[in-house]
Amino acid sequence: MVRLVAFLVGLFFSGMLLIGLGDTVIKAIQEPAQPTAEHEFHEMPLAVSFAHDGPLGKFDRGQLQRGLKVYSEVCAACHSLKLVAFRDFAALGYNEEQVKALAKAWKTEVPSINPETGEAASRPAIPADKIPSPFANEVAARAANNNALPPDLSLITKARGDGTAYVYSLLMGYRDQAGYKNAEGQELLKEFPEAATPAGLHFNPWFANLNIAMANPIAGDDQVTYDDGTKATKAQMARDVSAFLTWTAEPKMENRKSAGWAALGFLIIFTVLAWMSYKTIWADKKH
């Protein structure tokens, strides 16, 4: 009885799947999927290497400090960094006084309450504060940005596939759409005339749908002046801010890697000992 029912159920499900298969094939022939501009012209992140790559990689503190400078002078006007506190900047190699100064000098102040009147007010940040957001809320952010919402950047490199390289590629990826060709030599506007970037958006093949609301944020060299004298080329700034945003997304990366090596080393010794123990105990047993 069980086997009979099973046989019928199996026949039903597999039959429906095979009918579905025929249906899929017929539909695919009758109305083959049309290629889309996103599919043909979206680029995977560029290959770019960092000091923190790999199981032994450590952050380059100088690079993170430069990245913070790029973030605070370029990105912070629109993008929040809500999950990071000023105190966390100690990990970038700043001492307590420098962190305090950074917090105090931050362009956006922390919302607070006027202690006399109870009205909304703002005060300079202290190290314990999270980085204040440039906009009070989502509505304000959209209103100021042509109805686009600048995403919070705290986790951006973990929230995108191959995130560090993605941020770098996006920043370096603004192109002139007229005459743009992909690696296969197809010209975008010839193949997909309807894919012309709408007004108010900007063409960037590294963005998922090719048209991003953000204007090219680092348009040219020397947009910031680095304290350590590094030449602020466009690529340098993009790399530095990508490294900085990797740190904001994974501030414990170095602890994680060093703990990992300790754990691995310990476990390898344990496993060898356990193997010897196992072999010793089984020495007399054929199995």
Binding site: V2, R3, A6, F7, V9, G10, L11, F13, S14, M16, L17, L18, I19, G20, L21, D23, T24, V25, K27, A28, A33, P55, L83, D88, P151, S154, L155, K158, A159, R160, G161, G163, A208, A249, P251, K252, N255, R256, K257, A259, G260, W261, A263, L264, L267, I268, F270, T271, A274, W275, S277, Y278, I281, W282, K285, K286, H287
Partner: protein
């Protein structure tokens, strides 16, 4: 319990004797996983995975309990509380990554454990009850893992909850009210998150309870073995301790090396980037996928694309969506009937030439394909592949297995485990 030659627990010392007379817990442990449990001497490394699954559960419970000390189940606070754990709590990043990857490793281990059972016929008499309890544990694990994935309240959490509870709305008449009952609202929100947290905390203990039954049931007939031949006498067995405790210790080391390598060096490899975006009920991710361990079932769900009805009349009896849901649950529930579908008296796949071919060249590729297609967007080629693979899945278990059991001529079995191991007939083989 069942073998007359099993060593008896002899309490040494006054305290041990005193305890044994009042609460023979050490005796229970001794008989369950100590020297008092005789185990076939020929188990291979596939038999390590039961113990490893137990270890994985313990890892999940321990890390989960400490994470719950910092997590708060609120739609506004859940995401930030997870990030608070990652950033500010002492060693919080370790606990969270261990819990997150621990779930994946729990499934890896349990899947190998299940495949061991499928290949070596561990579900056959007299071990049907062990198998039934095992499938129950698997179902509970899936529910627990799903609810746990919702807790960080990221984009994939939210939309996963939306889609999976959406399965229930496929049920005619009661579907939509049932979904609202499960969610406590019209969409996943505070009520759903809170109850998922509550149940996610509870279920592992339920799983632990069923595991105790699973092990209890195991100790009635004793462990199966790679030959599938029953134990004939003392020379076929060794005591669990120290023989298999030592082997399991070694297996544990290997397991932990893999677990640590992923947890510390590629902790987000098995996760989805979208879950680092806070849940947004107004915007769906471009491509919703469940965690990797659900992908085969997700592929089966998506493979059903046509309604079942009376041709040319437009009468629909079962909609494609409902059928997908039924098939997805069916694909797991059919495992409950496996002991009665595969009627071959031979347990081990080693001695079943036809069964073995279908297992290695049918079932395994089919599951690999389903896992792969489950994570792909609905492009024609992936839909076609998942339809073929899903059809094979049902044909394999429901049609091929019963037929193969009937027509197959098994290879000659060894007379005993000892003979298989030593190559000598039973009488002359000494341990």
């Amino acid at each position: 319990m069942s073998f007359p030659w099993a060593q008896e627990y002899k309490p040494q010392g006054t305290v041990s004797k005193w305890v044994d007379e009042r609460l023979p817990l050490p005796r229970l442990v001794y008989n369950a996983v100590g020297a008092g449990y005789p185990v076939p001497r020929n188990l291979n490394y596939f038999w390590n995975f039961g113990v490893l699954a137990g270890v994985a559960l313990v890892i999940q419970i321990v890390t989960g309990i400490v994470l719950a000390m910092h997590y708060y189940a609120s739609v506004d606070g859940a995401f930030n509380s997870v990030e608070h754990i990652m950033r500010d709590v002492n060693a919080g990043w370790f606990l969270r990554y261990a819990h997150m990857n621990g779930a994946s490793f729990f499934f890896i281990v349990v899947y190998i454990h299940i495949f061991r059972g499928l290949f070596y016929g561990s579900y056959k008499a007299p071990r049907e009850m062990i198998w039934l309890l095992g499938v129950t544990i698997f179902l509970l694990m899936m529910a627990t893992a799903f609810m746990g994935y919702v807790l960080p309240w990221g984009q994939m959490s939210f939309w996963g909850a939306q889609v999976i509870t959406g399965f229930f709305s496929a049920i005619p008449l009661v579907g939509e009210p049932l979904r609202q009952l499960l969610l406590g609202g019209f969409a996943p929100d505070q009520a759903a998150l809170n109850r998922f947290f509550s149940l996610h905390y509870l279920m592992p203990f339920v799983i632990a309870g069923v595991i105790i039954l699973h092990i209890w049931a195991l100790h009635i007939p004793g462990s199966s073995n790679p030959t599938g031949v029953s134990i004939k006498g003392e020379q076929d067995t060794v005591p669990f301790h120290p023989y298999y405790t030592a082997k399991d210790g070694f297996g544990l080391g290997i397991f932990l090396i893999f677990f640590v390598a992923v947890t510390f060096f590629a902790p987000n490899m098995l996760g989805h980037p979208d879950n680092y975006i806070p849940a947004n009920p107004l915007s769906t991710p471009a491509h919703i996928v469940p965690e990797w361990y659900f992908l085969p079932f997700y592929a089966i769900l998506k493979a059903f694309t046509v309604d079942f009805g009376i041709p040319f009349t437009g009468v629909i009896i079962i909609e494609a969506k409902l059928m997908g849901v039924l098939a997805m649950f069916g694909s797991i529930l059919l495992l409950f009937f496996l002991p009665w579908l595969d009627t071959s008296p031979v347990r081990s796949g080693h001695y079943r030439p036809l069964f073995r071919k279908f297992f290695w060249f049918g079932l395994i590729p089919c599951l690999v394909l389903l896992t792969y297609c489950g994570g792909k967007p609905p492009y024609t080629q992936w839909v076609i592949l998942s339809q073929i693979a899903a059809a094979y899945y049902f044909i394999h278990f429901l049609i091929i297995l019963p037929i193969v059991s009937r027509i197959e001529r098994p290879l000659p079995l060894p007379n005993s485990i000892t003979e298989a191991v030593t190559g000598k007939p039973l009488e002359t083989a000494a341990a």
